[in-house]
């Protein structure tokens, strides 16, 4: 698949933003490690809104005809893309409401504020699920058509949110050991789930050029694809990543998204080091951006079978 930067940014940033909001709600609801101070809550919710907004804006950049974008909310009964839009937009009033509430009252753990936060967090989590399902429902792309996709999206959104939260806590000078521990655990979950996913998609399965053409008992070779230069189909679906290159990019991805953040977070665990948590936060965002790119480039749409690929 063609990896459009706009779509990469959409799930990368909005996923992190929703994960952050959900964690803020959980931590203030349950008063984990004393809860967040009013200023920490303000920074966190603001950052979450900024991340979600970056994601949403870049998703409209992907549209070829954005003047009809408002119609995308209408088919929520059938389309996960429409559902994602509906839940993402309904996230805003509650998240902004909580932001305003904390700003005015300075009481992030009052009942009204917590209700707003919990609803925003829940809507964020539902949106992450919708984002995963956008890909997971496509039977045309074997690498996406698995429940591992929404599971991965959850792990990545929450790990990004937890890293950001730990960074906020350290920078504002609170005791962050529990938050850092949470972030490290969630990053480990990303590494594990992503590992299972890569194992899963490396197994040969799915349609072949034989089922695509109906000639099941003989070899099928493409003689001519009928066009001299690229078409929409080859530009959108034709990309292929050589195995060795994919492997080295995966190593880089694990390094940036998992190893560097865990080490940096570990360093700041004892030292409360501000640069270290910033390194962790930047590194996980860049690393997961790479993961998003791989997610697209490794996806093999079945239409490639008609262009001569033997299996997808």
């Amino acid at each position: 698949m063609h990896a459009a930067l706009a779509v990469i940014f959409l799930t990368l940033f909005s996923g992190g933003g929703f994960g952050l909001m959900a964690l803020i709600a959980i931590i203030n609801d349950l008063h984990i490690d004393g809860g967040l101070s009013p200023s920490q809550t303000l920074i966190g919710v603001l950052l979450s809104l900024v991340f979600v907004t970056i994601g949403m804006l870049s998703s409209t950049a992907h549209l070829a005809n954005p003047k009809n974008a408002w119609r995308a909310f209408t088919r929520w009964r059938t389309s996960w893309l429409a559902r994602e839009g509906v839940f993402a937009v309904s996230f805003y009033p509650f998240a902004i409401g909580y932001l305003v509430w904390v700003f005015l009252t300075g009481a992030p753990d009052a009942r009204i504020g917590l209700t707003l936060a919990s609803i925003a967090g829940l809507l964020g989590l539902i949106t992450i699920f919708c984002q995963g399902m956008i890909y997971a429902v496509l039977r045309t792309i074997r690498q996406w058509n698995t429940p591992l996709v929404p599971a991965n999206f959850y792990a990545m959104g929450l790990a990004t949110g937890a890293t950001l939260l730990a960074a906020i806590r350290v920078i504002t000078g609170g005791n962050a050991s529990i938050f850092i521990g949470l972030a490290i655990a969630l990053i480990a979950a990303v590494a594990l789930l992503k590992g299972i996913y890569y194992f899963w998609i490396s197994r040969p399965a799915g349609p072949t050029i034989h089922t695509a053409t109906g000639f099941n008992r003989s070899t099928v070779r493409l003689l001519d694809q009928g066009h001299t230069f690229g078409t929409f189909l080859t530009e959108e679906f034709g990309h292929i990543l050589p195995q060795e290159k994919a492997r080295s990019i995966k190593v880089l991805m694990y390094l940036l998204a998992v190893v560097v953040p865990i080490i940096a977070l570990g360093v700041s665990l004892g030292a409360q080091s501000v640069p270290a948590v910033i390194v962790a936060a930047v590194s996980i965002v860049v690393g997961l951006g790479l993961e998003r790119w791989l997610f697209f480039v490794e996806a093999q749409h079945v239409v490639n079978l008609y262009h001569g690929r033997q299996r997808c």
């Binding site: 992907h62 009809n68 389309s79 000639f215 099928v220 009928g226 189909l233 008609y306």
Partner: protein, 230 residues
């Protein structure tokens, strides 16, 4: 009604006439135009509703060239419609034709991801998704003679490799052809239940080309040819 096409892989000669007729008709049809990019440049490209590919089936000497036209299959389980967030993509309940409403589409490409058969192409100039309309502006046109109320690709095919009709009617020519010739659907494992069916090539004994004994008439013909050449 369940309208669609039958493609005869036995007789298709791979001339691309259907693709050209399709382009010609539809570029002024309901979802017109079928934009061309850089048509006189170094790398011309553009929107087509119908594409023909060519395959070699089997190993020499039991091999065969098969020409393979593909357009929208007007699937029963049209996931392209299910996933569309705007409602631009729809399947008409009365005849099963899948269409894209050009006034509603926002060009998100999602439906093209959901189509296994490469039937949808984004028009990069209008920013909307386009696809085969089953020539909806011909088949219901009461102004033209009845025998011409057929898709442009079907009318133009010089090998009669394309048939149009109602698959819900068991006695329609398309249903009969599928029944009698073992017509099949592509990628059945994906369960889109495409309406269009493909008729497999008939099985012939291979025609020998080597070590043949020449007939007397051919010998005379070759001798005449040689004499005339001098």
């Amino acid at each position: 009604m369940r309208l669609g096409l039958v493609i005869d892989l036995d007789t298709c000669v791979g001339c691309h006439a259907c693709a050209v007729a399709c382009k010609e008709w539809n570029t002024s049809g309901t979802t017109a135009p079928l934009t061309d990019y850089n048509p006189y440049g170094a790398k011309p490209s553009g929107v087509w509703f119908n594409r023909i590919r060519h395959y070699e089936i089997g190993e020499y000497p039991y091999n065969k060239t098969v020409n393979f036209p593909m357009s929208c299959m007007h699937c029963e389980n049209a996931e392209c419609v299910t996933v569309c967030p705007t409602g631009a993509s729809h399947k008409r309940p009365e005849d099963g034709i899948v269409l894209v409403d050009q006034d509603k589409c926002m060009g998100c490409n999602y439906c093209s991801w959901a189509c296994p058969y490469g039937a949808r192409e984004l028009d990069r100039v209008s920013g909307t998704m386009k696809k085969c309309t089953l020539c909806i502006d011909r088949i219901y046109d009461m102004e033209i003679p009845e025998e011409e109320r057929q898709p442009a690709c079907v009318l133009t095919c010089p090998a009669h490799a394309r048939m149009f009709g109602d698959f819900d009617d068991p006695e329609s020519p398309v249903s009969r052809a599928v029944r009698e010739r073992g017509g099949y659907q592509l990628l059945p494992e994906l369960n889109y239940d495409p309406t269009n069916h493909y008729l497999p090539p008939r099985v012939h004994a291979p025609i020998p080309t080597e070590g043949l004994k020449k007939k007397a008439a051919i010998k005379v013909k070759e001798w005449v040819n040689r004499v005339i050449e001098r």
